[in-house]
Amino acid sequence: MKRPLFDLKNVKKVYKMGDVEVPALRGINLTIEKGEFVAIIGHSGSGKSTLLSIMGCLDKPTEGKFFLDGEDVLKVSDNRLAIIRNQKIGFVFQQFNLLPRMTALENVEAPCIYAGIKRSERIKRAKELLERVGLEKERFYHYSNQLSGGQRQKVAIARALMNNPDIILADEPTGSLDTHSGDELMKIFVQLNEEKRAIILVTHEKYIADFARRIIHLRDGLIEGQNGA
């Protein structure tokens, strides 16, 4: 039996702010297979980021079930979640989220440090990946605050690929980039998808979502509709 990569059943998330309860997700049912390229689209506040955080094991739903690659991740330890994030998932964020006071190369190395991979191997892999995403060699030793937005996002993607994950989760990765850098980035995502990696991408923009083979529309914490697949 083929098991889905993501399997969410009636996932709800309610934020409590004092006495006020803010429902961010109101019952999501979603399955995503291995190697899929999915875009999640919706208005601001519709719950896209919340859904992605849950899928990335950064957050837990208030209610519902969630199996990742067949594993009931709502029942595992904090340590196991850290290992899943480290090994199975690569994150790309709108605000790049590079580590401060670290060079491009060191940023890319970081996931391998937590994976306990030795230095020479780490550096070799990091350089290969940076070359692959098209960062110029002379930028490898620049600190994150010395790089442009496009360059930073390239570093972030290289970092997401460091432990060779099956899943890339990207929350508005082009949101802080101009169209040219955005297109360049999307080409990389398409390539990664061709390598059988599942890509889940949150976006506002229709034309970015069109790179995906399946588009999920969110509205007020519910899946309103899907196209593709």
């Binding site: 950064l58 994030r85 480290n86 994150f91 989220n97």
Partner: protein
């Protein structure tokens, strides 16, 4: 892995050097204070012990006791018991007493040509030289013949020579000694070798005259003010018992005298200084705790500031333990570097103090280990709370932090 986390910790400390230094300050001051106090205390007590031991651990001092003092009467020191004959008897009757000297202490006004000064007068018997390890550098010491003939001869301490004779050779010269309100001419027969300060008196600013001269010619007193005795090698305790036994028999009252062994004095001084040092070091130790609170303070600020970084690291797969170690290592680096700098500062302070006071610089390995170890312990304890706080941050909330 841990090595990498140490590197990361170093990196973030380097990024904010001023804060790093400020966070170390409390520890530096605390460790410096502890080290300086312990080292100065040990140096001082070593010097004092050395001085006392230089007098010989076989030295025994016998003072008159006090009488009266009951029923509201004021107690007075007993003055009419220590005769020269009793000193002879003590020496003769106690097998473990090697030598006894009878001493009268007083003050006098000295004059030579136009120079004059005040000095302590120590009236002694020849045995004084052997018992207190003093000898003359020039001329001769007081002899039994001087005592038998009540000679008006004097041996001078170095400082007295310097002040009174200003370069002139004092031997054979006659000086005026005003004792009470009577003046006597004394002939200088010797100059004592330089001895310096020993415990309670300075041998160099005193003059030494035969005890019988004081008794027969100067005051007419029949008794001396104290005895010094010297026990045979390693027999101090036995000697004291014998002296006490004889004196109790003779005087029929054990409150009329007091016998002190030099060893007791050494022990008492040692105890007093070490209690003092422990107390002061304890107070200084409190400043180490304050330094620890400083570390905690700054680490807490640092955790809040780096909330986002912690979130990123968690998204990349850092476990709680990884974050905990990273911040704990930071606290340990602060306290270790602070401890080492404090150690150096404390060492410099104690070296300067030791130099000024002319005593040895004592910095025992145990106090080094204690100070650095304690400061790292402080870093560990006070770093734990901020590090745990960092490790327990919720990843999503940390990533959302602006």
């Amino acid at each position: 892995m841990v090595l990498e986390l140490i590197k990361v910790a170093f990196r973030s400390l380097k990024a904010n050097k001023l804060r790093f230094i400020l966070s170390m300050l409390g520890i530096i001051i605390g460790v410096a204070a502890v080290i300086a106090i312990i080292s100065i205390g040990q140096g001082a007590s070593q010097k004092i012990t050395e001085q006392i031991s230089a007098l010989g651990s076989e030295l025994i001092t016998i003072f008159p006791g006090f009488k009266g003092g009951t029923r509201g009467k004021i107690s007075t020191q007993v003055t009419n018991i220590f005769s020269l004959e009793l000193a002879e008897d003590l020496k003769r009757l106690s097998p473990d007493v090697k030598n006894v000297t009878a001493v009268i202490q007083g003050g006098a006004y000295l004059k030579y040509k136009e120079n004059n000064m005040m000095a302590n007068v120590v009236a002694i018997t020849p045995e004084f030289s052997e018992i207190l390890n003093v000898s003359t550098q020039e001329g001769r010491f007081i002899t039994n013949q001087d005592l038998d003939e009540y000679r008006k001869v004097v041996v001078l301490g170095q400082e007295v020579v310097n002040e009174l004779f200003s370069g002139e050779d004092p031997l054979g010269k006659r000086i005026v000694v005003q004792y009470g309100n009577r003046k006597f001419m004394f002939e200088v027969i010797g100059v004592l070798e330089k001895k310096g300060q020993m415990m309670f008196f300075n041998f160099d600013n005193q003059i030494y005259i035969p005890v019988t001269t004081v008794m027969k010619r100067l005051t007419g007193a029949h008794y001396v003010s104290q005895y010094y005795a010297k026990a045979r090698e390693g027999k101090a305790e036995e000697a004291i018992k014998q002296i006490e036994f004889i004196l109790t028999k003779r005087l029929k009252d054990e409150n009329l005298f007091k016998v002190f062994a030099q060893q007791q004095v050494i022990k008492a001084v040692g105890q007093a200084t070490s209690t003092m040092v422990i107390m002061l070091a304890g107070i200084a130790g409190i400043s180490l705790l304050v330094g620890g609170i400083g570390i905690m303070n700054i680490m807490l600020v640092s955790v809040v500031e780096r909330t986002r970084e912690i979130g990123i690291r968690k998204a990349l797969g850092a476990k709680r333990r990884d974050i905990l170690i990273q911040f704990l290592v930071e606290a340990l680096i602060i306290s270790f570097v602070g401890g080492v700098i404090g150690l150096l500062a404390g060492w410099i302070i104690s070296a300067v103090v030791a130099h000024l006071n002319n005593w040895p610089v004592v910095l025992s390995p145990s106090s080094i280990i204690l100070a650095v170890g304690f400061s790292m312990g402080v870093g560990l304890v006070f770093g734990l709370y901020p590090a745990r706080k960092a490790a327990r941050l919720d990843p999503v909330e940390a990533l959302r932090y602006e």
